[in-house]
Symmetry: C2
Subunit: 528 residues, 2 copies
């Protein structure tokens, strides 16, 4: 890592001492004006500037390489910078463009990054395990191949937590990654390095995985966009982990992005490349340009999941969005309806059991093989999790049957939302987490995101506002519903979360990823 | 069963004594001329006649009810006749049609049948287990609901083998079902009752399941059409079995049909009904009316799977089709290329292990709970199968990883078939089984069908010709490749298979069910 960051040319200036808690202002001080402009341009606009010759791919990728190297210095969020690879590829792209006047695809020249979990040819792929520190692969992950075939330039790889199963980012190999808005807070996880890069504007588009919130939580923690698509849409080939062959809960690769638009481009063009031709586990469900029929849009609002209530900032953000939606959006008849939770605690019980149907043996063995100690959040999800135990084939089948029964029940529940007008809800608006970016070591409730993984519904987060010291105060006389709820409320007070972005989540039915992002555009129009 | 058949009105005449081996001529002797005409009309034409008022639904369903009752007498292929339900529904449909002049859907009035495995409201559903002989359900299977919503009339339920895991049809509860072309031969299985009904023209359209060949094998044994779609396209809700929650190899419901056209209608309209809205495990992959681009059609021919060679009649049928294709079809540039097998024995080893990841315990316990003896073919697939053993979670994951590696390898192999011209094969032509309908108790090789289940590729069978006593003789000096090959060759001689139909199979890539059936039309055009 240090070696790859040492290639930064020209080298970065010294950092201010002491570092502020909020480091998002540093690039303006330490990078060139051009670098700041480039890295703060909306990504699809940036592609346009390369496509019309206004910027070269090398200029763009160098700007991101330097900004990411700076992010690494203050946030500890990279596992390596792919300086040589990125410059070489950008150079080729510029040559092609100069020769032909044509671009190499819809992402022509756009730098992209990914969490370390994604295979990169001839590089180490350790999935954060000390035991695998020297593991190398000879092939890029399939989605990297696809994105590069569409013109993108892979330029950085980022941190993820031990076992890739925290929604924060701490490992024995790389330490802890920080939130750029407030370094006392976590950047989220498991795609935490990407989250930190995004919040620092040091990547236009990152790629993460999400089996319980791992793409959405870090995007939300950093006030950006992130999505967990329906499983089987984005290529999964070339992810290396200890639980290969486990398929009770499907993981999915999803984008973390500076804008809704580039997130949508990612989905549209990756699916448009027909990746199922080479990866037969993927599903040939086409992306619909107009998935929503103009007219009515029905949005269910899940104010609480009935287990852990959202904290004041999140509650306020929900109200902001609902008020905006009720004011209306031209061309749309928007109906906002309450959405009651259905046994989210039971769903979490099944979900977390199904994450580790071997009782976590493989993971624990891999840690133990080199004496790597489980970190506290590894213990929380695995050895201290009351639901995790080693299954046998019959208890596994039984869990699958319960999972499928829940999914069928939920489909019926969703259909019922249309019983009066023949128009079931298009999307659900809900929290992305109980709170905003959390204090390090406290991310002990995933069910605002994992619930949708359990159902295999796509979910995406978007920024609404930031923590307000006057508006987001503790409620007097709040009575917690249970110990989990109490845990989060006890921690909360606004001064601990200064400058933290507040995001919310939209959720659509299975395979309605296109509905999800098109509805998000309308919600954003409502917000103005 | 006897009770339901006793409702036949008017009662059936006496059967000839002795019964001929080939009973397909009996309906002409024992049913009315109108009944024969109706039941021998191509099903989509039959729907047209109801839609234009030429025939009533009651007349049509009565004809099928009587013909199915006759089938039962000579072939032992029903578990029950749904006389009252079918007449009641057909009556309602006729009333609706008389009142409105409109049909109730694309299958308006078409009688359909299903294997007993499909739930039917207020009826017994035993999945052939003695232990479940008295088990009742209160809801129709989802696909029955869908088909009835499209206008079909469920009129009969049919036999299947013990454990629903033979490709013949024998149970302790119902005995053995026979092949109408030659009662010395099996009607196939596991959807064997449907196969026998089809061969006897006693159903226009049956519904079966297929996890190893169970829809295709009986359709092929009886010279008709049958299909195993890609999993997740046709609703599976309401199938009751002992291995619920097992998902290593996906079963699929598929049509068994009198014509290619009605088989295609089944797929098109069932998928068109968007069943994934209520059954969230299904995949919203649309049916394409024109899945093949007119122009080139490339067909790979798998002459043998390298484990068991096809017997003389099947080999001859392959040659007939290849010769016809080489003569060409107007509007199509057809290229026939050889298709080499890739480790079909290894694939079977994994497939049969993955059928019973609990070592078959659940099934064996259910049999033992009432002292039901495993029949020889149950022992063959389960207790005598060298690959079946109880897995633990880790060995299960390992099997999944091997399965997925094979699937990826095969996808690459298929892509390579286009390396010279950019046009990979559209379909594969191959045997449906080593031979034609088999002698009772000898169906001990499934891999010509199960291979495609393992890959989750759709496959469909179609009739080519029938066994010819002069052309289909044993080869002199045939040297078997191995013991399995020897088993089938030793059994074979044409006089044992008099009148047996010969079918072949077409296979397409995953989710190319539409390509499959549209290519089958071209193959049929080639055959003339």
């Amino acid at each position: 890592r240090d070696e790859s960051c040492a290639k930064v040319d020209p080298p970065l200036p010294e950092l201010p001492d002491p570092l502020p808690l909020n480091v998002t202002g540093l690039p303006a001080l330490l990078l060139t004006k051009e670098e700041c402009e480039i890295t703060e341009t909306e990504p699809t606009e940036l592609v346009k500037k390369m496509a019309n010759g206004e910027l070269t791919a090398v200029t763009v990728v160098k700007s991101y390489l330097r900004r990411a190297a700076l992010a690494q210095k203050v946030l500890n969020c990279l596992t390596e910078l792919l300086w040589d690879r990125a410059i070489a590829r950008a150079t080729l792209m510029d040559e092609y463009f100069q020769k032909t006047g044509k671009t190499l695809g819809p992402f022509h020249g756009l730098p992209i990054s990914s969490k370390e979990h994604f295979s990169v040819k001839d590089r180490y792929v350790n999935a954060s395990f000390v035991a695998w520190a020297e593991k190398k692969v000879d092939k890029d992950a399939h989605v990297i191949e696809v994105m590069e075939s569409l013109g993108a330039v892979l330029f950085a790889r980022s941190t993820q937590p031990q076992t890739i199963m925290h929604v924060e980012t701490e490992t024995v190999l790389y330490g802890t990654s920080y939130n750029p808005y407030n370094r006392n807070l976590s950047c989220g996880g498991s795609t935490g390095g990407e989250g930190a890069l995004l919040g620092f504007n040091a990547t236009p588009l990152g790629m993460g995985t999400d089996i319980g919130g791992s793409a959405r939580w870090p995007a939300a923690s950093n006030g950006r966009y992130g999505m967990r698509p329906t499983a089987g849409r984005v290529p999964m080939g070339g992810l290396i982990g200890p639980n290969a062959g486990a398929e009770s809960i499907s993981g999915a690769i999803g984008p973390l992005a500076q804008s809704r638009r580039v997130m949508e481009y990612f989905m549209k063009y990756v699916i448009g490349s027909k990746p199922w031709i080479t990866e037969p586990g993927l599903l040939p469900v086409p992306w619909r340009e107009q998935a929503l029929t103009p007219g009515k849009l029905k949005i269910g609002v899940l104010w609480s999941d009935g287990v852990v209530n959202p904290l004041p900032p999140v509650k306020r953000a929900l109200q902001i969005v609902v008020d905006a939606l009720k004011k209306g959006v031209p061309g749309w008849d928007i109906e906002v309806v309450p959405w009651e939770p259905k046994q989210h605690d039971y769903a979490w019980e099944l979900t977390s059991q199904l994450y580790y149907t071997d009782g976590g043996e493989k993971v624990l063995e891999l840690l133990a093989s080199v004496g790597e100690e489980p970190l506290p959040l590894t213990k929380w999800i695995l050895t201290e999790n009351p639901y995790v135990r080693k299954q046998d084939i019959h208890s596994l089948w039984e869990l699958h049957t319960k999972r499928d029964a829940y999914r069928t029940m939920y489909a019926e529940y969703w259909n019922e939302s249309g019983k009066n007008d023949g128009h079931p809800a298009d999307i659900i608006l809900c929290p992305a987490a109980p709170g905003v970016a959390c204090l390090h070591g406290t991310a002990k409730y995933w069910a605002y995101t994992s619930h949708w993984n359990f159902l295999d519904y796509p979910g995406a987060v978007f920024p609404v506002t930031t923590v307000d010291q006057e508006l987001d105060v503790r409620e007097k006389d709040y009575t917690p519903m249970n110990n989990q709820d109490k845990f989060f409320y006890d921690i909360y007070s606004p001064e601990k979360f200064v400058d933290a972005p507040i995001n919310l989540q939209l959720v659509a039915r299975r395979f309605n990823d296109d509905v999800l992002l098109q509805a998000m555009k309308i919600v954003e129009n409502a917000l103005g």
